[in-house]
Symmetry: none
Subunit: 217 residues, 4 copies
């Protein structure tokens, strides 16, 4: 009767309209936050009936859950592929950082919401899915770094779980203070800003992590 009644949401069926809603939701959530975005807003921008959101996703909360799954599946895949590649440790870490920055940059909206909203409220359900993703990501990072340690390239006294915060945190903080850095670095267009991320910022993060992993204190 209702299109969505599967609680696992793993095999969610996404038709065009659902995707349209999800895309709009991501945009608006990232612009105005979860609470700041009303179902009315979403329905207006997606040009669908206001009842469709509840109809398709059950509730605003469940829309967020669906959005998480919809947007995080790709990153997971890319990381798994990276693990299989045959690269030098430093190269592998550099590529890991690229994947993170690109992946998050593409979905910057959802990740911003995720980090803020999920930790802020008791969105347990949504959080579980996200926590699983983070665990998976951490495992990938762990494996890559351990490989480098085994090859004697990386230092052995690294606290691996703190690597991700540095990678993502640096990117996030930069992105969160977008207009500040736009002015500071004279990045006049959206394109220039994104380009700066893909070149200078990515390189900065790669340098930082390499220095941390390689050089003795």
């Amino acid at each position: 009767m209702y299109p969505i009644r599967n609680t696992t949401m793993s095999n969610i069926e996404l038709n065009d309209k659902k995707i349209q809603i999800l895309e709009v939701a991501e945009k608006l959530f990232s612009e105005k936050g979860f609470e700041g975005t009303s179902i009315r807003d979403i329905s207006k921008h997606a040009k669908i009936n206001i009842a469709m959101v509840s109809y398709y996703f059950g509730s605003k909360e469940r829309l967020l859950e669906a959005l998480i799954l919809y947007k995080t599946s790709d990153l997971k895949l890319q990381l798994e592929n990276l693990l299989q590649e045959n690269l030098e440790p430093v190269e592998k870490v550099n590529k890991l950082i690229e994947i993170y920055v690109n992946g998050i940059c593409l979905n910057k909206g959802i990740y911003r919401v995720l980090h803020f909203e999920l930790n802020t409220k008791k969105r347990e359900k949504s959080m579980i899915a996200f926590t699983e993703l983070k665990k998976g990501n951490l495992k990938s990072v762990e494996r890559i770094i351990t490989q480098g340690q085994e090859k004697g390239v990386f230092r052995k006294d690294i606290i691996i779980p703190l690597i991700t915060p540095t990678i993502i945190g640096t990117f996030f903080h930069f992105h969160m203070n977008k207009s500040f850095f736009e002015e500071l670095l004279d990045l006049k267009t959206e394109e220039m800003f994104n380009n700066y991320i893909k070149t200078s910022l990515t390189k900065h993060i790669q340098q930082t992590i390499k220095a941390l992993l390689v050089y003795e204190n």
Copy 2:
């Protein structure tokens, strides 16, 4: 009629009740976000009349502005003091990181809100005050690092504006994913979590920044 009509808010007068409101607002904003916190919530927790917020601060929006000014003045002062101190470059950077982590940790609520809310909406007014703070901070960082470069301790090809994102970003990302790291690192109490920040996380950031500043690629 209304006590506050000065838009600059620079010379805001803070009586006990205002401070009480600000403290409660910080707590609730950080817990539930700006949109997620209602004036009713604030007035209830602060045990004041619901009309007081609008009466004292003009609007919910202006309450946020006031909160920013109220909470960011201390950090600014500490950084200026640090500049005067006579320390080795690495030591100075380490202390800078300590100041950041401690300062933000103390006011974690407001900073989280700031970063999320301010970039998310068009809260221009509030943003200006915050941008000024960031510019000031950046200047302090710039000076410290330049000093180190002049002394030949730090590399010269550093993009200084990207240092702060790494320092603050790492801390933020860790803090934003509090419950994830609590579980991962087996930090059972609030105290253990905060203690981990003050020791291991701070040390990690210090190591990271030192490696970045000191070692050649």
Copy 3:
């Protein structure tokens, strides 16, 4: 296109699914009232598509009409049979009461809804069918009592239309305050409650009516 378009509803055709819907509707209407029951509820409990109710009965309102006809036909028949029986006046009245109490008790759900909902709103259509039933019932009662009066057993100054309110009203009031009387009379199970109705309450009503009909004031 739609199977039902006859407004009289006298020759409504009831297939299995329709009956299933009617039974579920009775249950839910009696539990939660007409307004309090949604078509979604009905369709869920009857395990049919949500559109089926409108499809089969035209509207929620017309479903109620159909329910009335479906549930009131039996009582009418029983009363007509009673008229033919050869019994002493008092015995006949007692049996009349038994028929009423049993008949209504069986369909307690629908009768409760009927009495409340029909008088409450302008459900004209549904009401006409119910009014006809009541008129028929009154005629039966009239005949029985007149017979008793002719035989000199019953008083002649009886206002016959007020007999039914006493019979049904007593039963109804008892049933409507079910939980109150369950506690008061220590009727722990559904069975005990129903049994009390069939014995003590029925006897009480019979005594009452007999006293009214037989004894001079």
Copy 4:
């Protein structure tokens, strides 16, 4: 902050607007049921803002609770006064019936809602208040009948708790089928209908109860 926060509701303060809301609510609840009446309806008829109902009473549910208390307090008082009066048993019972019929007739709206809604849903809170009223009433009836039994006027094999259902039930059933009896008894105006209740129906109930209490079977 909120005008109503006392959960006991015993000392509810009723200003003019609250009373206005309660009166309108009673009218509409009785006409269209609890579920069938929207807060918008109430606010429109009472010519107040839609938010006032929630503001004054907290919720629609709590409005019903308040309505019960507001409307049932008078009946309770009258019954207690009756107990003190020095009357013959039969006279006392007759007066009891008068009080019931008049009291309920005046507040017919609320009583109809009470009987239907309260037993229909899980309105526990509201129900408790109503159950207490019923218990009190029963006690009054008990005392009056016991007095009559002690004076040797009333039979001793009466099931007292079943007296009230007969009194109130008869009245209720008559009132619930208002339009049926209006047509049947040719009661063309509201006044005629009410007059019939106050004379013929009341007398019928008095006769019935007297017959039940006095004459041996």
